[in-house]
Amino acid sequence: MSNALRALFEFLFKYRPLVFAKGELALGAPWPVLAIVVLGAAAIAPAVLSYRRSQGKTTPRDRMVLRALRVAALAVLVLCLARPILLLSEAVPRRNYVGLLLDDSRSMRIGDRGDRRRADFVRDSMLGDRGSVIASLRRRFQVRTFAFGGETHVLESSDTLAFAQRESRLTDAMEQARQSLDAVPLSALVVVSDGADNTRAPLADELVALRGKEIPVFTVGVGAERFGRDVEISRVDAAREVLAGSALAVDISVRQTGFRGATLPLLVEDERRVIAHGEVSFTRDGDAQQVRVGVPLTQPGLHVLTVRVAPQPHEQVAENNAQPLLVRVRGGREKILYVEGEPRYELRFVRAAVDADSNVQLVTLLRTADQKFLRLSVDDGNELAAGFPVSRAELFKYRAVVLGSVEASFFTRDQLQMLADFAAVRGGGVLFLGGRRAFGEGGYAGTPLADAMPVVIEGTALPDSLTFLADLRATLTPAGLSHSATQLGDAAAPAERWRALPAVTTVNRIRRLKPGAVTLVSGATPPDGRAGAPGETVRGYVQPILAYQRYGRGFTAALPIQDSWTWKMDASIAVDDRMFETFWRQLLRWISSESPGRVQAELAPDQVNKGRAVEVHAVVTDSNYQRLNDAPVVAHVEAPSGAVRDVPMEWVVDRDGEYRGAFTPDELGAHTVRVEAHAGTALRAADTVVVRVADLDDEFVGAEMRGDLLRRIADETGGRFYTPATVGRLADDIALTKRGVTVVNRLDLWDMPAVFLLLIGLLGAEWTYRKARRLA
């Protein structure tokens, strides 16, 4: 309701709408109601009868109108005689308490109230003796003031309010205030805030508690609900750990107001050095966009990346233009098993591409003839000595598996199931390559691996026969545009780079993806290309060149072409072109990097302010990657100073293989957490994760005043939401909450201006009607 409408309402009806909402209607006349009814009937009856007797020039319609107007006027008078009143419970002045919670966080420094900061409102209205709002509250209530941010404390002096806390734990603050005022008659809690809430506990739980205690929360939202001009990095997502040399795919969410039609550059920095670029475009004002940037990471160790959009002219908040991202780059060597059914160029070039890669060990089992194998890049003479692994423990040692042109009948049924489980249970990546003995042509239809493949396989199982051939030219799909597997080093325009590659060929007829699978690189037969079985010509043939799908705990990918080496060898490719090597290195990193170890540890959150608790969460499995319950698990936490403490991890009894623990870091810097699972006294497996303790600027993410949250708190607890412009009646409204010590007031309604206006209106209408009809 607008201010003018509210004032008009109050003029006509004497009281504010809230008074009517909170009060109860009653009749206050000293006489019985029956006497008033009889009196009214006595007054009305002569009027009705007089119109029946004297008809004069009037028509029946005139008499009906005049009679109705007269009766209505008399009814209003009789109602006034009955003395209608409003019974209203109000707090007894200064007998009740109000908990006043003031936001002391850094975001209150934002100057989005004209030329004034949010904090200025708190200082002017809520503090000291001159503050208008605090004064009105104190006239009616005992006020207990709390300051909240990361911590909540009773505010003894306004001088201690510095608006410097790095968090706003609003939910925690309400809970703490409610509990500390539990022993006094509490009328309401008043929250003065911009609505930022970094509490990890659910708000809904606290609202239920407040409703249960019937404590209304009155919220005062300070700040603009929508900035005039601001751009913000609102979220950054990426893998927390990658293999050295990987292109890390960083998903960046950017929000803005006032930048319609603008294209802004994005930077990813490592130690103030720009290591990746991107850009984001906005077509509409208020748009939020998500973009993906590939970030090359070569040096092992902990990297604190900063994703940044440069501050723009006349921007509201500059602190929300950057977000940190913690990434641990592994320097180890990932063992990937490559099984190939025949010596072929693809194998030779792929191996050459990763041969010098110190982070990938492509252990190769190559069938050179029937029952004759060549093992390459094995650790020792025992590795794969008996051919393809026959046990899960042996197979699951690898981080990923590449299946080349090798027919399904090469494997036993158990081995095929093991390969499917490699992705589904172990959580590894399985890559299927094209070839005459692969996919449908390799007889995989109906095997456990057919279910695991991201593509629907077609084609006749006639290994070594040419049942299909198509030339394919690659095109990067939108999903592939920023995928880590398709980043080609320094290629500034990856889509153009992929389009310019020479055509490759496939002998596997694949046209459909499984539901949920994603194509990263699509292939289409060029106008002068071939497609079809011998004697067949298929026009406009299209099939995926690189696609993947999640499969259980891991994922599977398909590269159903037989000669990606063309991207290295073709006459159109320059001798020093490294595209092919880059592609395969990224591809192998991608399929191996997400493979969990037997202990998979996570921290929540992985970046915290000092003094905040960190939860350690771990999944522990045995050598077959079956979840292991009730194992001795401990987290060794090493602080930057070198101090080490052990955090015991407890098995979460209702979750197989899951263990939890928590600790509170008390030093700034990176804390290394090594989670170890033991079998007796021997170490079974371990995983290492890192938490960064720093002064974070989370406060400035989503820094616009969150009116929706504050309204929800008020609505769900029976309070009201105010802005600085409407907060003047706060104390009066709280007084009507019926909480604490109250007294019932009787408010007369008969003397409302609206009643007199109604009476005058009715009489005036009768006179006007008579004049108009020439009856007077």
Binding site: E342, P343, D464, K568, M569, A571
Partner: protein, 271 residues
């Protein structure tokens, strides 16, 4: 022993190389009667050639052709000697003893394809075969193709040459393409001789006056890396492949020639 050629031999080879280099670049490695046979800048077409099988991803034997008619015999110029029976026989052996399923024949086409060093088609076949390099006088474009082919990952088997003149011409052309390349004598202990069969180089296949000697060029001249070229000096294993069905040589020697061929190809496809 990594460098099996004695110092004296290497010096002698080097001198010959320098002496022959200038002649070879002008195409005068030996008295050039071949110009009488036709345009030295044109390609000879073997009578059994029925066109190249279109590339389809299968392993296909690729024979390198060069211009002119040098080393001309009843089988044509040197590059075409033993075509197509040589590769046809080898591919059948490959199919029978290995898991490779190469192109063997398709109607009138048999054996493999014929490609020029300056043709983009060459790069569809990362393993290729050059016969009789003694008569090979490439122009700059072919030299560039040869260089790019090897640097990108190609592998060339050089066969059927012997004597100082052939050697001098071959090394001179190689130096033109890869000035820093070092030809290293192979001892028989290298992985290429154990890639599929265990090869004993002491089983002599004598087709030239001298004893066969096997040379190789390693990528970046680093013996820890792969061989990018092997050269059967004083040898002609293609001849054994070609005539293995006609009693040209004792069966054991033909077998050894096949074993060397199989090993070369398996090595090239795996290293």
């Amino acid at each position: 022993m990594r460098h099996g050629v004695g110092t004296g031999v290497r010096i002698a080879l080097g001198l010959c190389l320098v002496a022959a280099g200038a002649q070879a670049q002008r195409g005068r490695g030996r008295p050039d009667f071949s110009q009488m046979l036709g345009d030295p800048n044109s390609y000879y077409t073997p009578p059994d050639f029925r066109g190249n099988e279109p590339y389809d991803g299968r392993f296909t034997f690729a024979r390198i052709k060069y211009r002119g008619f040098a080393h001309f015999s009843r089988e044509g110029p040197g590059w075409s000697h033993d075509y197509p029976r040589s590769e046809s026989h080898l591919m059948r052996i490959m199919r029978d003893v290995t898991s490779i399923r190469p192109f063997i024949e398709d109607g009138p086409r048999m054996g493999g394809v014929i490609v020029a060093l300056d043709s983009p088609e060459l790069f569809k076949y990362p393993v290729s075969y050059l016969s009789e390099p003694g008569g090979w006088f490439p122009n700059e474009k072919e030299i560039a193709g040869f260089r790019d082919y090897l640097l990108k990952g190609g592998f060339i088997i050089v066969d059927d040459f012997g004597g100082m003149s052939d050697w001098a011409n071959f090394t001179a052309q190689l130096q033109r393409a890869l000035p820093k390349a070092q030809l290293v004598q192979l001892t028989g202990k290298e992985p290429i001789f154990d890639a599929f069969f265990k090869i004993d180089l002491n089983i002599i296949q004598r087709t030239y006056r001298g004893s066969p000697v096997y040379f190789g060029v390693y990528e970046d001249n680093d013996p820890r890396k792969r061989l990018i070229l092997v050269a059967n000096y004083n040898n002609d294993i293609g001849e054994y492949w070609e005539f293995s069905d006609q009693g040209f040589a004792p069966v054991p020697l033909s077998n050894e020639a096949y074993k060397i061929g199989v090993n070369y190809l398996v090595y090239a496809l795996t290293h």
